[in-house]
């Protein structure tokens, strides 16, 4: 198990996660699904250690993350947030090199080896040609790929992604999905991604966790969990779930509000 969450409780003004237990297998690509406000982003923040649970435990390879120093945790686990708005006009290379932070000492500046890691990450996400561009001038799809590259320069073995395709057009959605699948396959990066895109989840994720009202409704292999009944329970929507021959995965067609 890469990540295990046991009996986690967390509350945040009007919202609460209660008794959440989730296990994420090493090398898996796990999708977090659920309606707005169900706790997906909060769960990701808890997994990354940004928020601390009130009760329960989150463990990385069996070791509670609360006991792992920040920098050590950041060398193993990286996060791709929904959107990134830097306050200053950093270049793409500067943004990506910041991923090396947990690998550097307090006054250490990055050297050629760190630069090579950053180049490699830019190359892997198809953004090496953008290295000298100001980050803010990029398109949404380019930004998202650069942010994924920045997370990769942390050399993590677990990557948490919050709606990685939410603001992208169809072409970029497929591109980012293919990129994630490739990184998962080639670099053996375990991934947990929160998404509203059921077809993305169906195509990409081998495991799904369905969250509703701060509780786990269902979890398991995608082919078992992603059913019309589950979608109805989750979103209150009637949907057809069928295997699509040409796409090679399950597809979800929402029909009407139930």
């Amino acid at each position: 198990m890469a990540l295990t969450v046991t009996h986690l409780d967390f509350s945040y003004s009007a919202f609460a996660l209660s008794d959440v237990s989730v296990s994420v297998q090493r090398g898996s690509l796990t999708g977090l699904l659920g309606p707005n406000g169900c706790g997906k982003t909060t769960l990701l923040k808890l997994l990354s250690g940004v928020l601390r649970p009130r009760h329960g435990e989150i463990a990385l390879d069996g070791r509670p993350i609360a006991g792992i120093p920040r920098r050590a945790l950041a060398r193993r686990l990286a996060v791709v947030p929904q959107e990134t708005h830097p306050a200053f006009d950093y270049s793409v290379m500067e943004m990506v090199l910041m991923g090396r932070h947990p690998h550097l000492g307090a006054f250490q500046l990055e050297g050629p080896a760190d630069l090579a890691v950053a180049r490699d990450a830019l190359d892997a996400t198809g953004t090496l040609h953008l290295a000298e561009r100001p980050y803010m001038t990029l398109s949404g799809g380019e930004k998202q790929r650069v942010i994924i590259a920045a997370a990769l320069t942390q050399s993590p073995d677990v990557l948490l992604l919050d709606e990685p395709t939410a603001s992208l057009d169809l072409g970029y959605q497929l591109e980012v999905a293919a990129l994630l699948a490739r990184l998962n396959r080639e670099r053996a990066v375990t991934m947990v991604l929160a998404t509203h895109d059921l077809n993305l989840a169906a195509s990409l994720c081998d495991t799904l966790v369905l969250l509703r009202d701060g509780r786990v409704l269902l979890q398991g292999p995608t082919r078992d969990v992603l059913t019309g009944a589950a979608i109805k329970q989750l979103y209150n929507v009637d949907a057809d779930v069928e295997f699509h021959q040409r796409a090679g995965h399950l597809t979800v067609v929402p029909v009407r509000r139930a």
């Binding site: 250690g49 950041a74 306050a87 950093y90 943004m95 947990p102």
Partner: protein, 333 residues
């Protein structure tokens, strides 16, 4: 160029500029003096008027300009990153208003307490800065949570106007002489009189610079996002507290020494970013050095532009800085 070389070139270049400015500035003034005479060892110091003007009359003022300029510019850089707002200044968080209120009260009450070389007005203004910083910090922090930067900003802005009201009240109750002194103090002036005053604030400023030296890479990450910084291994709460403490020390000490000299903390960081990019590991040292050169140069203008009258330098920085600030606003939108 890799960061190591960029840093070396930048610090070398701006360092040379700062040193050169500090060496040239005391030579220029309403009374012309000769460089060779200043350093002519054959004339006893007691008889060498040029050396006396250089070292006793002008050098303390130049040194004060250098340390105040460096402190305000670097505090500006740190606060702009902490608040994720490029238009923040060292005075945004109310520290200067607190310092000003302290100074005004000391003038109005004719306070006489001294502490070593610190005379009553700087002492009171330091106390005021501490009070303001404590209030803002108390409002913006909750145990176990990162500082709320929006509360920090709003509390600072509110405190600024509240303290300004108190300053106006104190002035209204004061007599003409006190009011005149207050107004002059509020203009910001580097006429510190002796090395003693500079020396007295130096430990505070050194403390601030030592704190700033710990911060640059955390500032880079926090200016991208506090959650991003946390997931890359930055102890965000600690970095925020250090940034707040360092900027309060720098702004409090600078204002105690020279009054609230405006615009240095915003003009310098922006000019530096235009020249060297936005990486805080380069911007922060470059701003400190350029800030020193900038304020010394502004003060040179203030001393000479309508000589023999010496203007308070705050007037010069505001005349330069106001239009620059507006230009920045227009350029951003």
């Amino acid at each position: 160029m890799v960061i190591r070389e960029r840093l070396a070139v930048t610090v070398g270049g701006y360092g040379a500029l700062a040193l050169l400015t500090c060496a040239v500035a005391p030579l220029v003034g309403s009374t012309p003096i000769s460089f060779s005479r200043v350093f002519d060892r054959s004339i006893p110091f007691a008889d060498n008027v040029d050396a006396q003007i250089f070292f006793i009359a002008r050098m303390p003022r130049v040194l004060a300009g250098a340390v105040v300029g460096a402190a305000l510019a670097s505090a500006g850089v740190v606060l702009q990153a902490l608040l994720r707002n490029p238009l923040a200044t060292p005075f945004t968080l109310g520290v200067s208003a607190g310092a000003a209120l302290g100074a005004v009260l000391a003038i109005a009450m004719g306070a006489a307490a001294t502490l070593g070389p610190l005379s009553p007005v700087p002492l009171a203004s330091l106390a005021g800065a501490c009070v303001a910083a404590a209030i803002v910090y108390g409002l913006a922090t909750r145990p176990g949570r990162p500082i709320s930067t929006s509360v920090l900003l709003l509390a600072g802005v509110t405190l600024n106007s509240f303290f300004s009201a108190l300053i106006l009240f104190a002035q209204y109750m004061a007599d003409f002489a006190e009011t005149y002194r207050t107004v002059r103090w509020l203009m910001g002036d580097l006429d510190v009189g002796s090395f003693g005053a500079v020396g007295a604030t130096l430990p505070l400023l050194m403390g601030a610079f030592a704190i700033f030296a710990l911060l640059p890479s955390s500032l880079n990450l926090m200016s991208v996002g506090t959650d991003v910084a946390a997931t890359r291994g930055v102890d965000v709460g600690r970095a925020q507290r250090l940034a707040f403490l360092g900027t309060s020390l720098a702004a409090g000490a600078a204002v105690a020494l020279a009054g609230p000299i405006g615009f240095v903390g915003i003009v310098v960081p922006h000019l530096v970013r235009l020249m060297v990019g936005v990486d805080h590991r380069i911007v922060l040292p470059a701003s400190a050095l350029f800030g020193a050169a900038f304020l010394v140069a502004c003060d040179l203008v203030a001393r000479t532009v309508i000589a023999p009258i010496e203007l308070p330098v705050g007037i010069v920085t505001a005349l330069l800085g106001g239009p620059f600030f507006l230009w920045l606003l227009v350029r951003r939108s």
